[in-house]
């Protein structure tokens, strides 16, 4: 986290944000992309990152924060190395997502919205992942898992160190 205080945005991040802004009618229209770009490497968007992105896009930090907090996939708090998103929408509900959620909470020792002490996992609920024919479904990072078995979570958790 300290590194961000000294060096809010890397040149690579600035270049990526500029590339997005270049083909949009207004610079500020790149706000969501810019937040994603910064979050990709850092895992979340700190106040320092937010202020730096706002400067880059010629907008106020408050205006950018109003946007950042509106969207579910922009994290304004630190998260673990792997974010587990468990679908709690209707098809997964029918097929037992509550059991999956409870099993994950028990195994990781955290509740929804929390991060394990070792910083390995953050557990979040998510709406329908578009994998309802494979319910219950969850995502870890970029990866989608379907037909998740609440009694055998090792299969999905292993390999995410």
């Amino acid at each position: 986290m300290h590194e961000q205080l000294i060096n809010p945005l890397s040149q690579e991040e600035i270049d990526a944000i500029e590339a997005e802004a270049a083909h949009l009618p207004e610079r500020r229209s790149a706000a969501i992309e810019a937040l994603r770009i910064v979050q990709e490497k850092r895992g979340w968007v700190s106040d320092e990152s937010l202020a730096a992105i706002a400067r880059q896009l010629d907008m106020s930090p408050d205006a950018l924060d109003a946007i950042a907090t509106f969207y579910n996939l922009i994290f304004r708090k630190p998260v673990g190395r792997h974010v587990i998103m468990v679908c709690d929408s209707v098809s997964c509900y029918i097929l037992g997502c509550d059991r999956v959620k409870r099993a994950l909470e028990a195994r990781l020792g955290i509740g929804a919205g929390e991060t394990t002490a070792d910083g390995r996992f953050t557990l979040l609920p998510i709406v329908c992942l578009g994998a309802c024919d494979r319910a219950p479904a969850l995502m870890i990072g970029d990866r989608l898992y379907g037909n998740v078995n609440a009694d055998d979570l090792g299969e999905v958790l292993d390999g995410h160190e």
Partner: protein, 435 residues
């Protein structure tokens, strides 16, 4: 191949390839011929007219005729230059129970790219965007690659195939929020703002992204366009089994033997989809009802199973075809708790702009939780009925998010009344706790 493609224009290529269709396979199967034919041999108005004749209706949930929507876009007079316009694909797919656009995007990204470029040509858009759900990572990679290939083959970019028409194509990945799928909220999200719906009029074809004329179409809608132009409107009209034209991606989730997704003629009866394709109910479970087209559609029950999946037939039964992906509720599921789950979703995803939706939906969720947990009182159901009726009237809220939230609840109160009453009478959930 051509036979299958004649009856299943959306998925025949995917089946032949056994999954992902790359550029070579797509072109070998006639891909981008419709685009070539359109930009070199048809006027934009002719493209609009063909799609109108084919009676293609929006597959994003509302069923608005696509060609008609395109015809609302102002076109430059003969000899005058077109201004900036946008053709936008709605690939937000967040309606619970819906998993059709993901399949098309991941497996045949060029089909969507060609469909979007055709829509762009039809309205003479200078820029095309795909607005993609943020969680769809594989689809994002495949779309970016397909867009790059389309540029390098000059299907997009300056002077497309030597026609004089130029269009840029790009991807916007959503920050994640259900309301982004509502087309005017989507425009705000695309502009990098909070995704709040906009007042209408003006409608997007008059004033859309950055105040310029824009059309927004669903993924599946656009995927139908290339084959319509190649095979003609009459062919498309004949594909449907009932009143509506073409095929539709139908899906089934819930406790059926073979949950999945199939491209079938419009008008295929519900029972046929449930039994022949989804394999019927799992052993030991009985059918209670289904949401025919995603979470924001009204329940249908036994008496409706012989209806064709047609816009009019499903509307007549009091529901909506919606996204065509059905959610089956079996007899082990408590209708009250399922309703609570649905209202939780709608309450959480309200954008917060207007009071009946922002305050009303969480209230509904709380009352349902009370009933589910044995704290229901006499009179609660009448109160639910009343408030649902008020919140559900389209004019009472700024957009139809709240209306959609009420559809599954009002119909559950009607068809599963006895379950709600039993909860209040017995002061507990008869289905037991803890799923």
């Amino acid at each position: 191949m051509s036979d299958a493609a004649d009856i299943r224009p959306l998925t025949a290529r995917i089946d032949a390839a056994g999954g992902f269709v790359d550029l070579e396979s797509y072109e070998r199967a006639g891909g981008y011929q419709a685009l070539r034919q359109a930009v070199t041999g048809m006027s934009p108005k002719e493209v609009q007219e063909t799609v109108k004749q084919a009676n293609l209706r929006g597959r994003g949930g509302a069923g608005f005729p696509t060609g008609v929507k395109w015809s609302f876009v102002p076109m430059a007079a003969e000899g005058e230059a077109e201004g900036v316009k946008y053709a936008i694909c709605n690939a937000d797919e967040m309606e619970p129970g819906t998993f059709k656009d993901r399949y098309l995007l991941e497996n045949d990204p060029h089909l969507l790219v060609e469909g979007l470029l055709l829509a762009a040509y039809a309205i003479q858009a200078s820029q095309a965007y795909v607005f993609l759900r943020g969680e769809y990572h594989l689809a994002a990679r495949r779309l970016l690659e397909a867009m790059q290939q389309a540029r390098s083959r000059n299907y997009a970019g300056a002077n497309v195939l030597g026609s004089g028409y130029s269009v840029e194509i790009g991807l916007h990945r959503s920050g994640g929020r259900y309301i982004c799928g509502e087309e005017t909220a989507l425009l705000n999200a695309l502009e990098g703002r909070r995704a709040q719906p906009r007042a209408r009029p003006p409608f997007p074809p008059a004033s859309g992204a950055w105040g310029r004329p824009s059309v927004v179409n669903n993924v599946e809608t656009l995927c139908n366009v290339p084959a319509i132009l190649r095979n003609g409107a009459d062919w498309y009209l004949r594909l449907g089994r009932g009143e509506d034209a073409g095929t539709k991606m139908f899906g089934v989730s819930g406790r059926v033997r073979a949950p999945g997704l199939w491209e079938l003629p419009m008008g295929t009866p519900i029972r046929e989809i449930l039994e022949d394709h989804a394999g019927g109910m799992l052993d030991g479970y009985r059918f209670r009802g289904l949401l025919p087209g995603g979470a924001s559609t009204d329940f249908l029950v036994d008496e409706h199973l012989d209806l064709p999946m047609d816009y009019a037939a499903i509307a007549k039964a009091g529901s909506r075809l919606g996204t065509g992906t059905m959610i089956v509720m079996d007899d082990s599921v408590c209708p009250v708790d399922l309703s609570r789950n649905l209202q939780h979703f709608f309450a959480q995803e309200s954008c917060g702009f207007c009071t009946p939706c922002r305050e009303g939906l969480p209230w509904l969720e709380r009352v349902l939780a009370d009933i589910e947990e044995g704290r229901g009182e006499d009179g609660d159901l009448e109160l639910l009925d009343q408030n649902a009726r008020f919140i559900g009237v389209p004019g009472n809220t700024f957009c139809v998010h709240a209306t959609g939230a009420i559809e599954p609840l009002a119909s559950a109160l009607k068809y599963f009344r006895e379950d709600f009453e039993a909860h209040i009478r017995e002061r507990r959930c008869p289905y037991g706790e803890g799923r």
